[in-house]
């Protein structure tokens, strides 16, 4: 990321984060805004060299939690909704967690594609199998 940068505040992003896919040589910058900025569900895709290659939307009010699966797909949450995307933004799956989770506190994916969701109000980890 030496020769390009994104001014997160200028594009309307007061929170967010990034995740790096070393295998695909991609860096994903995730938009998250508690201020309702339009960029709040935007994903910027860079090469690991810093070249901006794509911008896509997750179709959610905001990106709350996100994680990169070992197969290179991205899991993004907002509220009780989990969406799975390819790195280019194609939607692969979507589902809503139920009372067994009680609010998503984080999520992770193991090498077998199993999704672990931390439940806020239930103080529990719920596992989903593909």
């Amino acid at each position: 990321m030496n020769d390009q940068y994104v001014d997160l505040w200028r594009i309307g992003l007061d929170e967010g984060g990034l995740v790096i896919d070393g295998t695909a040589r991609r860096c994903y910058v995730m938009g998250r805004s508690s201020l309702g900025f339009q960029a709040s569900d935007t994903v910027w895709v860079f090469t690991t060299g810093g070249q901006l290659v794509r911008i896509w939307k997750a179709g959610l009010a905001t990106i709350h939690h996100f994680t990169l699966a070992p197969d290179g797909t991205l899991y993004i949450t907002d509220g009780d909704v989990i969406r799975r995307f390819t790195g280019d933004g194609a939607l692969l799956a979507a589902w809503e967690t139920g009372n067994e989770v009680g609010g998503i506190g984080g999520l992770a994916v193991d090498g077998a594609g199993r999704v672990y969701v931390a439940g806020l109000s239930n103080h529990a980890v719920v596992r989903y199998v593909p």
Binding site: A94, G106, G119, N122, H123, V125, Y128
Partner: protein, 177 residues
């Protein structure tokens, strides 16, 4: 009044009587409803794109559509849920409500319910490619935080105190075996 005139008079009376009797027996006529009907489509979850008779409406649930009387096919399709099509008859100048609860689609991951019960509010979670699974708890609830480590089989491998004010971001930087 001659005989011929008398006959005509009686015939006229009889005709009037029969006509009056017939009209009294006619059932009351009601106006036949005409015009378009309103079709209200609601679903759980909401926000599902609606097709009407195979054509995309460009609108999502909940929504009200103006339709002609007759049979209509309502389609609801949302990724992660089962495609649902309902055919229903709609009468003219009425309001029909269609409520649909979409079932999970074939590609939706299956929940195994609670995999681990935690001692406090989880704040972050991360997993190695082949395990283990790391969970931080307590760091957003005002309690001292802790890092819990589980194998993919669900066995707790360890627990470490994190104290107060630790970050709620957790990252596994390499596969752990």
């Amino acid at each position: 009044m001659n005989r011929r005139q008398t006959f005509s008079y009686v015939l006229l009376l009889l005709t009037s009587f029969v006509t009056a009797g017939c009209s009294a027996k006619k059932p009351p006529t009601r106006p036949v409803p005409t015009g378009p009907a309103s079709l209200v489509v609601v679903s759980v979850p909401s926000g599902v794109p609606v097709t009407l008779d195979g054509t995309a409406t460009g609108n999502s649930t909940p929504n009200t559509f103006s339709v002609a009387a007759g049979s209509h096919r309502v389609g609801l399709r949302l990724l992660g849920y089962r495609d649902t099509t309902v055919t229903l008859m709609v009468s003219a100048a009425t309001v029909e409500t269609l409520s649909v609860a979409l079932g999970p689609g074939p590609g939706t991951p299956r929940s195994l319910a609670v995999w681990q019960q935690l001692p406090d509010i989880p704040s972050s979670i991360a997993a190695g490619t082949s395990g283990p699974v790391y969970v931080t708890v307590g760091t957003i609830g005002g309690n001292p935080g802790a890092l819990l480590v589980f194998s993919l089989a669900g066995t707790q491998l360890g627990q470490s105190s994190l104290g107060y004010g630790v970050s709620n971001n957790l990252t596994v930087t390499a596969a752990v075996t």
